[in-house]
């Protein structure tokens, strides 16, 4: 079904399949199930309170709990703009996005209350997702409930879930992949969504909820596979948000699980292409979307129903990537003889790790430059890990380690340098001094 708002979606299932399970979650060790009728009523009731509050823009710390999901849908339904935040949210982000009230644990909200001075009277139905990683210039992608519903419809049209399916949502919902493919995909198909209990329960969530479908990033999936933590109830796994080693889909397929890869961006409200056949890397373009390739192979996306409104209050950045309704992704792709899309690399200077983390390299390297004054260095990805490559020799390892330590301590775990490699020649650069990352990557990998 195609819906144009969260309210319409939830009302439809509350009316047509009121007793069908909508959400499952844990409370005090017990599995709770809420049907569509009760979920809709709960959201309506909370929405009425939020409408009376006079607030215009809610900053929501997305802990993935049942209360968090209700607050999100209720706030949008009440006409508030909703900004999806993680625990590292800053006052600068709140001010940029006009947040005037916060939802979340006190230890997260209290230190930021003084930054809630904005007002977003025209932001009804708008949800703002921060692009991962960037700190120097924070960008919030403005999506609408309509574009997010359209994206969920696109996914469901190619990969439908049945009402008896249970989709396990283990990903953070402040990322668009987690929100659309972990939550909205299931609800838009009238299926049940099981709300994962966070990192502490990565090990037993599958056994606890016994899902039939799961959306995951490659790093998490590789771990669940390695530790044999996937339940035998699973029949479909959607992988997205990062490059995936071929062993993972092969192992899943050997277990009889259907594997699909998704390609999309926050700017397109999540997926625009999904793999449907036996080759998980060959993707079919979603019904609402058109993908073409620029002369240099850059993937260009035209998807009016799912496209972002723009970067919030940043017309310049929006124009740089969105021209005449076409998004210039910075990703490189190709079409095979069957017209299926393959992702072959990245044109822009971004690393996308296997847990979905994005690293804007120029900014990351700028932070390191002060610590590594005078050094010829660059950051690349090698086998899914962040690798610092320097001109020098191994005797400098401890000194380099000490030099970068203060910078690394300011970074979350997944964004820290994992490997240091030394090369004995100058790093390959263009005439203008930019690192030739592809060349460097090839050189390091083959050495």
């Amino acid at each position: 079904m195609r819906f144009s708002s969260f309210d319409e979606l939830l009302r439809y299932y509350a009316k047509n399949t009121p007793q069908a399970p909508a959400l499952q979650f844990e409370t005090a060790g017990k599995l709770q199930t809420l049907d569509y009728a009760a979920l809709y009523e709960t959201i309506q009731s909370r929405s009425a309170v939020l409408k009376r509050s006079g607030h215009t823009c809610l900053g929501l710390f997305c802990d993935g709990s049942f209360a968090c999901v209700v607050e999100l849908f209720a706030a949008v339904s009440a006409g508030l703009q909703v900004v999806l935040l993680n625990e590292n949210a800053t006052a600068q982000q709140l001010q940029l996005t006009d947040v005037d009230t916060l939802w979340g644990d006190d230890d997260l909200t209290q230190p930021l209350l003084s930054a809630c001075t904005g007002s977003a009277p025209n932001g009804a139905g708008q949800l703002l997702f921060f692009t991962s990683g960037t700190t120097a210039k924070t960008k919030a992608v403005a999506l609408t409930e309509k574009s997010l519903c359209a994206s969920a419809y696109n996914g469901g049209a190619l990969l439908p879930l049945a009402p008896q399916d249970r989709l396990l949502c283990m990903l953070p919902i402040d990322h668009v992949f987690g929100f659309v493919c972990g939550l909205l995909w299931g609800l838009s198909c009238g299926a049940c969504v099981a709300l994962g209990r966070g990192p502490r329960h990565y090990f037993d969530d599958c056994a606890f909820f016994r899902p039939t479908a799961l959306s995951a990033v490659p790093l998490l999936l590789g771990f669940l596979l390695q530790k044999n933590l996937l339940s035998d109830s699973l029949r479909l796994i959607l992988i997205g948000a990062g490059d995936c080693p071929t062993q993972i889909p092969a192992a899943l397929q050997a277990m009889g699980i259907r594997v699909s890869f998704g390609y999309g961006l926050t700017e397109t409200s999540s997926g625009v292409a999904l793999s449907l056949g036996s080759d998980p890397y060959a993707m079919t373009v979603c019904p609402d979307d058109t993908i073409t390739l620029a002369e240099d192979g850059e993937i260009l996306i035209h998807c009016p129903s799912c496209m972002m409104q723009g970067y919030y209050k940043d017309a310049e950045a929006t124009t740089a990537v969105l021209q005449n309704g076409v998004l210039h992704t910075g990703d490189l792709g190709s079409f095979d003889a069957q017209g299926l899309l393959h992702i072959i690399g990245r044109k822009k200077e971004i690393l996308v790790l296997r847990d979905g983390t994005k690293i804007f390299l120029p900014e990351y390297e700028r932070d390191l430059a002060a610590a590594l004054a005078g050094k010829d260095f660059a950051v690349i990805e090698e086998n899914g890990t962040i690798t610092l490559v320097l001109r020098g020799d191994n005797s400098e390892r401890d000194a380099v380690q000490r030099a970068i330590e203060p910078v690394m301590q300011t970074q979350p775990f997944g964004r820290r340098i994992k490997q240091i490699r030394f090369v004995n020649q100058p790093l390959p650069r263009t005439a203008t001094g930019k690192i030739k990352r592809w060349v460097l990557q090839q050189k390091v990998v083959t050495e």
């Binding site: 990192p199 502490r200 990565y202 330590e405 775990f413 820290r416 340098i417 994992k418």
Partner: protein
Amino acid sequence: MTRQEILEQTLEIVHECVPETEGQELKESSVINTDTAIDSMGFTLIICRLEATFNVKIPDRQWQKLYTLGDVVDAIEKRLK
């Protein structure tokens, strides 16, 4: 429980959870990312196992601040007092 005992048990759990660390010389000053074979999923597993072993709870939001194995031992020691 002494700090040394906490460290020894921590290293045992590290080796058990991430077998790739076997044979690596790990000490308090070892930086979790660059000196060990531990990735973020392995780290999550280690913390959960440590919490169960020592019967302590290290809040999720503190996990990101643990940089060396010594920091992990600090976090446990603080909560055992």
